[in-house]
Symmetry: C2
Subunit: 229 residues, 2 copies
């Protein structure tokens, strides 16, 4: 209802004419043709954000890994599997006015994923070596030319949420970090609610626990305000 009120106030939608990239969902990193490593992410929060931005009039490019929930309507959907594919899709979507990086991108991939199903050898477990995935958020945040005006990252943490997320914002070079505590006890992972703290250069803003759609609408309005300043 807040969004509806704002929509009425702004007429066409405060984000009309703005192109915004949203990444969402997990990535799947192949081990071999039948196995993969994944992050737990339903894609619910990213999908709600994509929908909220579109509702405010933005042209949304929605780059999504294999999520549980269907992508929002009224956006351009690009489906990917791995972090490397997500980076390519993000690069192809640029330039944009803002980027919201809500995907739970795997930090690592298997260094040399196998074309054949890996079998035990002499009864021994396989050894998997990992390689670092491209850091999509940092790469876009640190662009020398054509950097989006506003870049929003996410930090799903289980310990020292604010400290870890504040450090992440500085390390990546993004403008805002939406931090949340995904410890199993919170029930946020896979649930319909979220309890976030928004971290910017001005400090942190603790939002009350609310539905993922309400978080999305509040964030979309903040983005609209930032882009119109």
């Amino acid at each position: 209802e807040i969004v509806a009120a704002i929509e009425a106030a702004f007429g066409d939608g405060p984000l009309k004419g703005k192109r915004i990239l949203v990444t969402s969902g997990p990535t799947h990193e192949p081990i071999d043709p039948v196995r993969y490593i994944a992050n737990r992410s339903s894609g619910a929060q990213g999908t709600a954000i994509g929908a909220a931005l579109a509702k405010l009039g933005a042209e949304v490019v929605f780059v999504t890994g294999p999520a549980d929930v269907a992508p929002p309507s009224g956006v351009e959907v690009v489906k990917v599997q791995s972090a490397a594919e997500m980076l390519s899709a993000v690069e192809a979507a640029l330039p944009v006015d803002a980027g919201v990086f809500a995907a739970a991108v795997a930090d690592w991939r298997v260094a040399s994923s196998s074309e054949s199903k890996i079998k035990k050898k002499n009864g021994k477990m396989p050894v998997l070596e990992f390689a670092e995935n491209p850091d999509i958020l940092a790469q876009v945040s640190q662009m020398k030319t054509g950097r989006p005006t506003l870049i929003v990252g996410f930090a799903a943490e289980t310990d020292d949420v604010i400290a870890n997320a504040t450090a992440k914002r500085l390390r990546k070079g993004c403008d805002w970090i939406v931090a949340n505590d995904v410890s199993p006890a919170t029930g946020i992972m896979g649930g319909s609610e979220n309890d976030v703290t928004l971290i910017s250069k001005d400090g942190s803003e603790d939002w009350p626990r609310m539905g993922k759609q309400a978080v999305a609408e509040r964030l979309a309005l903040k983005i609209a305000k930032a882009l119109s300043d």
Copy 2:
């Protein structure tokens, strides 16, 4: 339509009074609260088999990992995540007349999964040690007392399909193996069709490529015949 004809011929359904366990879907093995290792399995073939057995009158216990497709109706559904949980659910479902082990159970789990989100240390990738998961198919196949009359395993292979699946049948001690080639080029993984070879002590039976539902109906009829002999 084959099933309908048989149903008509048998009246109440040839599997009436039979209790059959079906496992389906992948398992998810936790690395830490946000990451896991998974097998690619939509659960489509196992779900079709559960439905086909129920249609023939069987009392079906359907133990499923986190699958993409919804479980069949008219069966008792038990949802699990990891291989260890699947084994417990299978043990709780016994005794049964037949067991169809269609789940793509992860062979390994992470030896000591972490309660906290794993971080890089000194810029180094984490090292994951693996432990062998319980072998549910072998364990049930090799029961000394109360073993199901008929045990059907599955073998998703990418190379030497028949040889690997034949060896698997002997190693596990199950009665039949439904073998298929899941090489990426076949398009079977995640697709709606399957191309299987049924392997028993009498040799191998190559079925033509057909829909997963048709495979399920043919297998259910074969199971009904075997249990009535």
